[in-house]
C-alpha cells in the first residue's frame, strides 16, 4: 500500500488521478481503518488529507454562510457554539455518530463519502440545503449534498475528484432544524430510520421547509411532498398528518437484521412529526 500525505488539494487531486487500484482518502479514518481491519477493503493507495492547509477550519462568513473543512471532527463541530446555534440539527446528526473516541476523529465528509444510506450526519446536511465544493481534473464544481451518494458504499464522484469543503447556506432569522434517528439502544448503533427537517418561519407560518430521510432507501431521500404539506401552515395537526403520510409514501426500505420495511416506514412518520415539532420550536427561538 502507498500512503501519501499531500499538502495541497491540487497535489491530492493529482495523486488520486494518477492512482491505480483501490484508492481511499483518509481523514478521521473511522470508516476506512475499520473496513481495513475487518478485511472489507485493502487500499492500494491511501491519501491522507489532514496535512492540507485549512482542512481543520470551520468559518462563518460575513453573509452567514458556513464553510467547514473536510477534517473537522464531530467533537469540534459540537464545541462550536455559533455553529450549534445556527444549525443544531446538522450538528446533532454528526454527534450521533459512534462514541466519544470516534467523535474525536470522524468527519462530515467522511460520513458522506462512506455512502451509507443510514449515515447520521447526511439527512441534516441535505435538509439544510448544504453543498460541497468538489475539486477534480476538470476544475472545481459546487454540488448539492444529496447528489453525492449513489447507493450503499458508492458516490457520484469521478476518479480524481475530491471534496474540499462543505458549505452551509446563511441561516437567517427564524429558521430551525432537527435530526432524529431510531436505534434500539441509546448509542453506539446504526440508524434503523433517520429524519431531518429544516424550516424557516415568517410570523407563525412556515415559508420554506426541507425534509430528508435516512435508511429507508438506497440513498438519502428528499421528500418535497412532505415539505409542501407543511409550507404555508403553522404545523397544525392536519398539516402534520399530511406530512407524515407523504413521508411514509416516500419510503422504499428493505427488511434486514436491523428492522423490517413496515417498521422503518412507520417509524419514519413518527420521527418526521417529532422532528418537525422540534425544528419549529427552534425556529421560534425556544429551547429544544
Amino acid at each position: 500500500m502507498q500512503y501519501h500525505s499531500p499538502t495541497s488539494f491540487d497535489a491530492a487531486v493529482q495523486l488520486a488521478q494518477d492512482a491505480t487500484g483501490v484508492t481511499r482518502f483518509l481523514a478521521g479514518g473511522t470508516d476506512v481503518l475499520v473496513q481495513m481491519r475487518a478485511g472489507m477493503v485493502t487500499p492500494d493507495v491511501m491519501i491522507d488529507v489532514k496535512k492540507i492547509p485549512g482542512v481543520k477550519d470551520c468559518v462563518r462568513h460575513a453573509d452567514g454562510r458556513w464553510v467547514i473543512g473536510i477534517a473537522v471532527s464531530g467533537a469540534e463541530l459540537g464545541a462550536n457554539a455559533e455553529l450549534v446555534a445556527d444549525w443544531p440539527g446538522v450538528v446533532e446528526g454528526m454527534e450521533l455518530v459512534g462514541s466519544t473516541q470516534v467523535q474525536g476523529r470522524a468527519t462530515l465528509v467522511g460520513n458522506l463519502c462512506n455512502g451509507s444510506p443510514a449515515a447520521d450526519s447526511v439527512p441534516g446536511l441535505v435538509a439544510a440545503g448544504a453543498t460541497v465544493r468538489v475539486s477534480g481534473p476538470n476544475g472545481v464544481r459546487q454540488v448539492a449534498i444529496e447528489d453525492i451518494p449513489a447507493g450503499p458504499g458508492k458516490t457520484t464522484l469521478a476518479k480524481g475528484e475530491m471534496i474540499t469543503a462543505i458549505e452551509l447556506p446563511p441561516r437567517g432569522d427564524s429558521g430551525g432544524d432537527c435530526y432524529l434517528r431510531f436505534i434500539p439502544r441509546t448509542e453506539m448503533d446504526i440508524a434503523v430510520v433517520g429524519c431531518a427537517i429544516n424550516v424557516v418561519l415568517e410570523g407563525d407560518k412556515i415559508t420554506s421547509a426541507r425534509i430528508a430521510l435516512g435508511a429507508v432507501a438506497p440513498t438519502i431521500v428528499v421528500v418535497p411532498e412532505a415539505a409542501d404539506a407543511i409550507i404555508g401552515t403553522a404545523l397544525d395537526d392536519g398539516a402534520l398528518e399530511k406530512m407524515v403520510a407523504a413521508v411514509r409514501a416516500a419510503c422504499r426500505p428493505i427488511s434486514d437484521k436491523r428492522g423490517t420495511a413496515e417498521f422503518r416506514t412507520h417509524v419514519a412518520g413518527v420521527l418526521a412529526r417529532r422532528a418537525a415539532e422540534t425544528a419549529l420550536r427552534r425556529a421560534k427561538g425556544e429551547k429544544a
Binding site: A38, G39, F182, P184, R185, T186, E187, M188, D189, I190, V192, D256, K257, R258, G259, T260, E262, F263, H266, V267, V270, L271
Partner: protein
C-alpha cells in the same frame, strides 16, 4: 439484610480494595493475548462460510509457498478413533469430512506475523459441496429436516423421532391430570427464546507450544485450565501431565470459557512448526461465529391455578438446539423452570436437538433463563387473568426449606421467601407508574456446585500467607478467598495473596463454573489454613513443652488454651514463621476435596419499564435485584454479580439474538449488530443482598454468580405486558415486534 450477628466477623462482609484492581486500571494485567514468547509464530484459522457443506478438497500449496509461513494443519494432523464427547470436541475444533456451521474451522496456519498468517489463510483453497442445512430448533426436529449426523442420538431418544433429536428426558411427580382438574384456571402457552452469546469483552486467546516429544505448554484465557489440559490432551492424543497449562487474567467468561475452541490448533501448529510457540487470538467475529453461545429454545408450558392463586399442576415440554453437537441445557432449563414453587403435580419433557450452528457452551445458569421466561411469564399472565397480585401468588406457592423441589430432592436451607418479602418491602414497589409504564416481577433459581477442588496455602518467612488456587477469578473470588483466609488465620486482609496457579502446581481443579469458586475454593482454603494453624500450634506446643491441644489460636497468635496449660506470652504468626526453618521446616496446608454442602440461590427481580408506543423502544426505568447470597463475603463483588446477571438478562430479553440468513450464515457477528446493552441504556441496577447462611459452608457462602440472569427475561416480558397490554412470547422483545403488535391492535 443480615439477620444476625452483625459483628460476628472481623473481615467477612467488608469491602477492601480488589487485589487485581491496580493491575487492571493501569493496563498491567496480562490477558490472553498479552502473553508472548521468543521465536513466536502467529496463527490464523480458515473457517467455513457455509452452514453445512462437505469438504471436497483443501489445498494449501499457495499459502505454504509464501516466505514466513511455517505450518498448516487440517484434520489430517489429528489422531483418529476418538469417541463420545472427545470426538465432539475434536470435530468442533477442526472439521472432518463436513463443515457443520458457518464459522466451523477447517484449517489453521502459522506464520511469522499475524498479518502474514491472515493473508496466507486467504490463499488456502477449500472446495465445498453444499448440503441442506437447518438452524431453527423446531425445523430441525421436523420429519423433512436435513440429517446433520446419523447416530448422534443416545439411547434415551424414543423411536420415531428425527435423528437430529439426540437426547430425551422426562421426569415429574404427582397426577397432573388430577391437578389440572382441580384448577379454576388452566392456561397453556408457547414460548421461544433465541441464542444469546456470553459477550465477554476479551476474545479467546492462547499461546501454545508443543514439541515432538509430546511435552507442551499453554498460556490461555480460560475459566478452567485443567479442563483445557484434559481436552487438548484428548483431542491431540497427548498425556495430560505432559501438558502444562497456565491461565491468564480473564476478561469475562460467563461459562463460555469452560471448554476448548481453538487451543488444540495452536498446539498442533506448534508441533508441526518444530516446536515454535504459536499465538492464536480470535477476532470478535470469530468469537460470535465459532464459540459457543447458549441454546435457542422452543417451549410449551401449561399451569393450573385455583382462583385464590394456588398452583395445582404444571407441564413443561422444552426443545433446545445447542448447535451441531449434543449438549443443549434443556435438562437444566427443566430442573429450574418450576423450582421456585411447590406444585403438587408436575410433568417435564425435554428434547436436545442438533442444528447447523456453533457448539453451544455454558452461559451463566445454563437453561435457567429460558425456563424462567416460560414459567414466570405464564404465571404472570394467569395472575392478571384472575386479578391476583403476582408477588403474593409467588409467596403463596414459594419453595421453602424441606419442601420437595420440582426436580426431585427436598430443598435444604433456602431463601426464596426472604427475597420475595424483601422485594415486597423495597421502595421501588411503591414508585408511581405513568402512562406506557409497567412493572414486572419474576423469580429465578440456580444451583451451587462442589466439584474437584485442590488448594494449597503456605506461610512466608515474614508471617504473611500465600494461597494457591486453581479456579480462575472471574468475579471476585481472589478477594473473597483472601478475606476468608485472613479471617480464619486472624491476620490482615492485606497479608494474604491469592494466586491462580498453573496445572503443574496443584491437584486437579474443575473450572470456575456452577457458581463454585468462592464456595469450593473458599471452603478448601479455610481447611488448608486450618491445617497451617494446627501445625503452628503443634510447633509452639513443642517449644513450650506442652500438649498441642493445650495451645489455641486467637487473633493471629498462639496462646495457652487455659490456665492449666501454663503461663506463656502469646506467640505471633510472624514469630512462628520467622523461625520455622529451625522448628521443622516450611509450614503449609493443603486440601483436596469435592466439597459437599452446596448452597443454592434464589432471586427475585422487580423492573419498571416505559415503552414508546410509537417506536416500540423499551426504556428500563428502575431495576432491583434481590438475591440470597448465603453470606456476602465481599458485598461489592456480590452486588457486581447481581448487576451483571441482570444486565445480561436485559440484553437477552430486549435485543440480543443470533440472526441467520436463509443460507444459514450468521448475519450479526459483530457488536454493532449483536446488541448487548451499553451503559447509557441502563439505570443503576439496585441490589438487595439477602443473607440466609448456607450451613454447608464455614462462612455461609452460597453460589451467587448465576441466578441473576434468570429472572430478567420474564420480569421484563411481564413489565412490557403491563406497559403495553400486549404479551410477548418470543424473545427478544424488539421494537419491531412491539410496533407490529400495537399497530395490529390499533388496526383491529
Amino acid at each position: 439484610m443480615a439477620k444476625d450477628n452483625v459483628n460476628e466477623f472481623r473481615l467477612i462482609g467488608t469491602r477492601p480494595d480488589r487485589p487485581d484492581g491496580l493491575d487492571k486500571v493501569t493496563g498491567r494485567a496480562r490477558y490472553g493475548a498479552d502473553i508472548s514468547a521468543a521465536n513466536m509464530l502467529h496463527a490464523a484459522v480458515v473457517r467455513s462460510p457455509h452452514a453445512h457443506a462437505r469438504i471436497v478438497k483443501i489445498d494449501a500449496t499457495k499459502a505454504l509457498a509464501l516466505d514466513g509461513v511455517k505450518a498448516v494443519v487440517t484434520r489430517a494432523d489429528f489422531p483418529t478413533g476418538l469417541t463420545g464427547e472427545d470426538w465432539n470436541l475434536q470435530e468442533n475444533t477442526i472439521a472432518g469430512d463436513v463443515a457443520l456451521y458457518d464459522g466451523h474451522a477447517v484449517a489453521a496456519i502459522a506464520a511469522t506475523s499475524a498479518l502474514l498468517a491472515k493473508d496466507a489463510a486467504k490463499l488456502i483453497d477449500v472446495e465445498y459441496e453444499l448440503l441442506p442445512h437447518v438452524t431453527d430448533v423446531d425445523k430441525a426436529m421436523a420429519p423433512d429436516a436435513p440429517i446433520i449426523r446419523q447416530g448422534a442420538a443416545d439411547a434415551s431418544v424414543p423411536e420415531g423421532l428425527h435423528p437430529n433429536v439426540v437426547k430425551y428426558i422426562e421426569f415429574g411427580h404427582g397426577d397432573v391430570d388430577d391437578g389440572f382438574a382441580k384448577a379454576d384456571l388452566v392456561m397453556e402457552r408457547h414460548y421461544k427464546t433465541e441464542a444469546a452469546h456470553q459477550g465477554y469483552i476479551e476474545p479467546h486467546a492462547c499461546l501454545g507450544q508443543l514439541g515432538e516429544d509430546g511435552k507442551g505448554d499453554m498460556w490461555v484465557c480460560t475459566q478452567g485450565h485443567w479442563y483445557i489440559r484434559r481436552m487438548c490432551a484428548a483431542v491431540l492424543g497427548l498425556e495430560g501431565s505432559q501438558l502444562r497449562v497456565t491461565p491468564s487474567e480473564i476478561g469475562g467468561g460467563f461459562g463460555g470459557k469452560t471448554t476448548i475452541f481453538m487451543e488444540p490448533l495452536a498446539l498442533a501448529l506448534s508441533r508441526k512448526a518444530g516446536g515454535r510457540p504459536v499465538k492464536l487470538v480470535m477476532s470478535r467475529s470469530e468469537v460470535l461465529r465459532a464459540t459457543g453461545p447458549t441454546a435457542s429454545a422452543s417451549m410449551d408450558v401449561k399451569l393450573g391455578m385455583t382462583k385464590d392463586g394456588m398452583l395445582t399442576a404444571g407441564k413443561a415440554n422444552f426443545r433446545m438446539q445447542g448447535g451441531a453437537f449434543p449438549g443443549s441445557p434443556v435438562d437444566f432449563a427443566l430442573y429450574c423452570g418450576f423450582a421456585s414453587y411447590q406444585i403438587p403435580a408436575l410433568f417435564h419433557q425435554g428434547y436436545d436437538v442438533i442444528a447447523n450452528r456453533p457448539k453451544c457452551a455454558a452461559y451463566r445458569a445454563p437453561g435457567a433463563p429460558m425456563g424462567a421466561f416460560a414459567v414466570e411469564s405464564l404465571l404472570d399472565e394467569m395472575c392478571a387473568e384472575l386479578g391476583l397480585d403476582p408477588l403474593d401468588v409467588r409467596l403463596k406457592n414459594a419453595s421453602v426449606e424441606g419442601s420437595k423441589s420440582s426436580y426431585g430432592p427436598k430443598f435444604g436451607s433456602i431463601g426464596l421467601v426472604e427475597t420475595l418479602e424483601a422485594a415486597k418491602a423495597h421502595p421501588n414497589m411503591l414508585a408511581p407508574l405513568g402512562p406506557n409504564q409497567g412493572r414486572g416481577i419474576a423469580t429465578g433459581y440456580w444451583f451451587n456446585h462442589g466439584g474437584d477442588t485442590s488448594v494449597s496455602a503456605a506461610l512466608s518467612e515474614d508471617g504473611t500467607l500465600q494461597v494457591s488456587v486453581g479456579t480462575p477469578d472471574i468475579g471476585g473470588s481472589r478477594a473473597s478467598i483472601a478475606l476468608m483466609a485472613a479471617e480464619t488465620m486472624g491476620i490482615p486482609y492485606e497479608n494474604v495473596r491469592v494466586n491462580i496457579v498453573e496445572t503443574g502446581a496443584l491437584g486437579v481443579n474443575e473450572p470456575t463454573h456452577g457458581s463454585r469458586a468462592t464456595f469450593a475454593s473458599g471452603k478448601a482454603t479455610v481447611e488448608a489454613v486450618q491445617g497451617i494453624i494446627k501445625e503452628m500450634c503443634r510447633r509452639v506446643a513443642s517449644e513450650w513443652d506442652i500438649d498441642p491441644e493445650a495451645v489455641t489460636w486467637v487473633d493471629g497468635s498462639a496462646q495457652p488454651a487455659g490456665p492449666n496449660a501454663g503461663k506463656f506470652p502469646p506467640m505471633s504468626i510472624a514469630e512462628i514463621a520467622g523461625k520455622m526453618s529451625e522448628t521443622g521446616g516450611p509450614i503449609a496446608g493443603h486440601c483436596e476435596t469435592v466439597p459437599e454442602g452446596v448452597g443454592a440461590s434464589f432471586g427475585t427481580h422487580v423492573v419498571d419499564v416505559e415503552v414508546d408506543p410509537e417506536t416500540g423502544y423499551t426504556k428500563i426505568l428502575r431495576y432491583v435485584v434481590v438475591q440470597d447470597a448465603g453470606r456476602a463475603i465481599h458485598p461489592a463483588y456480590v452486588e457486581g454479580q447481581y448487576q451483571g446477571g441482570a444486565v445480561q438478562g436485559i440484553g437477552w430479553a430486549l435485543n440480543e439474538e443470533y440472526i441467520y440468513d436463509d443460507m444459514g450464515r450468521l448475519q450479526n457477528p459483530i457488536f454493532l449488530d449483536y446488541r448487548v446493552p451499553v451503559a447509557s441504556d441502563l439505570p443503576m441496577i439496585d441490589t438487595v443482598i439477602v443473607e440466609v447462611p448456607n450451613p454447608g459452608h464455614p462462612y455461609g457462602v452460597r453460589g451467587v454468580g448465576e441466578t441473576g440472569i434468570a429472572p430478567p427475561l420474564p420480569a421484563i416480558a411481564n413489565a412490557v405486558a403491563a406497559a403495553t397490554g400486549e404479551r410477548f412470547y418470543h424473545l427478544p422483545i424488539t421494537p419491531v415486534k412491539i410496533v407490529a403488535a400495537l399497530n395490529a391492535r390499533n388496526d383491529s
